[in-house]
């Protein structure tokens, strides 16, 4: 289990106070463990992203939720596109070709 202590050990440029603010704002959403918050790999990557935005690029606090929301929407969209891509890839050759041709025609 990756704890809050581990996170500030892994991402050295983030301190406890800052991490707690991010969790309170729900920019980072660790799982709730029996005793304390439990982070996974995605949470750590999220902390790194926030560290980059807030500390390295000095993006203002008001802009961060806007950026996160847009990033999250893009990832949801990409996830759905991946599903569609998989479904189309599983179709027989002629249907796949037909979809591709028609899509190209409209681009």
């Amino acid at each position: 289990m990756i704890t809050e202590n581990d996170v500030i050990e892994i991402v050295k440029t983030v301190d406890r106070g800052q991490l707690r603010v991010w969790v309170r704002e729900r920019w980072v959403c660790p799982a709730q463990g029996t005793e304390e918050a439990a982070y996974n790999e995605a949470d750590i990557a999220r902390v790194r992203l926030l560290d980059m935005l807030a500390n390295e690029l000095q993006v203002g606090t008001e802009a961060i939720p806007i950026i996160l929301s847009l990033i999250d929407q893009i990832h949801d969209m990409r996830a759905q596109m991946r599903v569609l891509d998989e479904v189309i890839s599983d179709q027989p050759e002629d249907i796949r070709m037909q979809v591709l041709r028609q899509a190209l025609d409209r681009c």
Binding site: M1, P30, A31, T34, L49, E56, L57, Q73, R78, Q80
Partner: protein
């Protein structure tokens, strides 16, 4: 690496502040997480950050300008970006909850399905929304995980959540409890609870695939003569026959005594024998060994 000044687009006489500004501007443009669909952004960003590592640091910049260090050998290590996780299992907590209603029937239908809504092509619009998902982390003992013993989580409000553990669950797997998240908005259904499982190690048993591996010490006389010994398994002790002349490292396979996963083949238990000599070698044993050696010496290292 190319000239770091060129990469950041600044002159050799730029001030530290100008360099910082140029770096930030480029980093904002090329950061891989701000360009999730662009594969090339990763190497571009890597280049920018490596350049900044040199001339963005006044000390290193001085040494670089003096020719004491060059731009090579300053590649930044491979970075983990959020885009590797976003929109994938393990990052459900960051789902935007955004609506793709204007994206046409297929997308809005897929979206509604995922949000647990009523679905249906061309369905009506409303402000009903599924509640937020909750996320829990649960540490389960080794035996509870392999045997699938139900667990209980106490929520912050003092209530309890029963979690049925599928037999043979592994660390990192998640259990979805439908409707156990936050209440929905309007007539929307409640969110789901995701319980991430961590299996704690056991002092005797180890798991390899669906096999359980356990090291069992045997005495010197048991090794020589063989016989029945009792060994622990994940569902109690069983008696096992040790063949005469057993050596350390020899493995006995107990068919079907491993993990019984919900899907897939039941594993075995592998018992690795370990011969343990008595703590004190008494005169009798010593005398016997000396006598035995005279006529029966053997070299276990002849192939070394």
């Amino acid at each position: 690496m190319e000239d770091p000044y060129k990469i950041l687009g600044v002159s050799k006489s730029a001030t530290d502040a100008e360099i910082k500004k140029a770096y930030r501007k480029l980093a904002k443009k090329h950061h891989p997480d701000l360009n999730p669909s662009d594969k090339a952004s990763e190497s571009k960003f890597q280049e920018i950050s490596a350049a900044n590592d040199i001339i963005g640091d006044p000390e290193k910049r001085k040494r670089f300008d003096a020719g004491e260090i060059d731009a090579s050998g300053n590649e930044t290590p491979e970075h983990q970006y959020y885009k590797q996780y976003g929109g994938r299992p393990g990052a459900q907590q960051y789902s935007s909850g955004g609506n793709f209603d204007d994206m046409g029937d297929i997308f809005s239908q897929m979206f509604r399905q995922r949000q647990g809504g009523a679905g249906g092509f061309g369905g009506g619009r409303s402000f009903d929304m599924k509640g937020q998902d909750a996320r829990y982390h649960l540490a389960v003992s080794f035996l509870d995980a392999v045997n699938g013993n139900p667990q209980r989580i106490t929520l912050p409000d003092g209530s309890n959540l029963e979690v049925r553990i599928p037999q043979g669950i592994k660390t990192g797997q998640s259990i979805r409890l439908k409707g156990k998240g936050q209440p929905g908005i309007g007539n929307g259904p409640p969110g789901d609870a995701y319980v991430e499982i961590e299996v704690k190690p056991h002092k005797l048993f180890k798991r390899e695939g669906n096999d359980i591996v356990v090291e069992v010490p045997i005495s010197f006389d048991e090794a020589v003569l063989g016989g029945k010994i009792e060994v622990p398994t994940i569902d109690g002790r069983v008696r096992v026959n040790v063949p005469a002349g057993a050596s350390t490292g020899q493995t006995l396979r107990l068919k079907g005594k491993g993990v019984k996963p919900r899907k897939g083949k039941t594993g075995d238990q592998r018992v690795i024998l370990k011969v343990v000599m008595p703590k004190v070698i008494d005169p009798e044993l010593k005398a016997f060994a000396e006598k035995w050696r005279k006529d029966h010496a053997y070299n276990p290292r002849e192939n070394m």
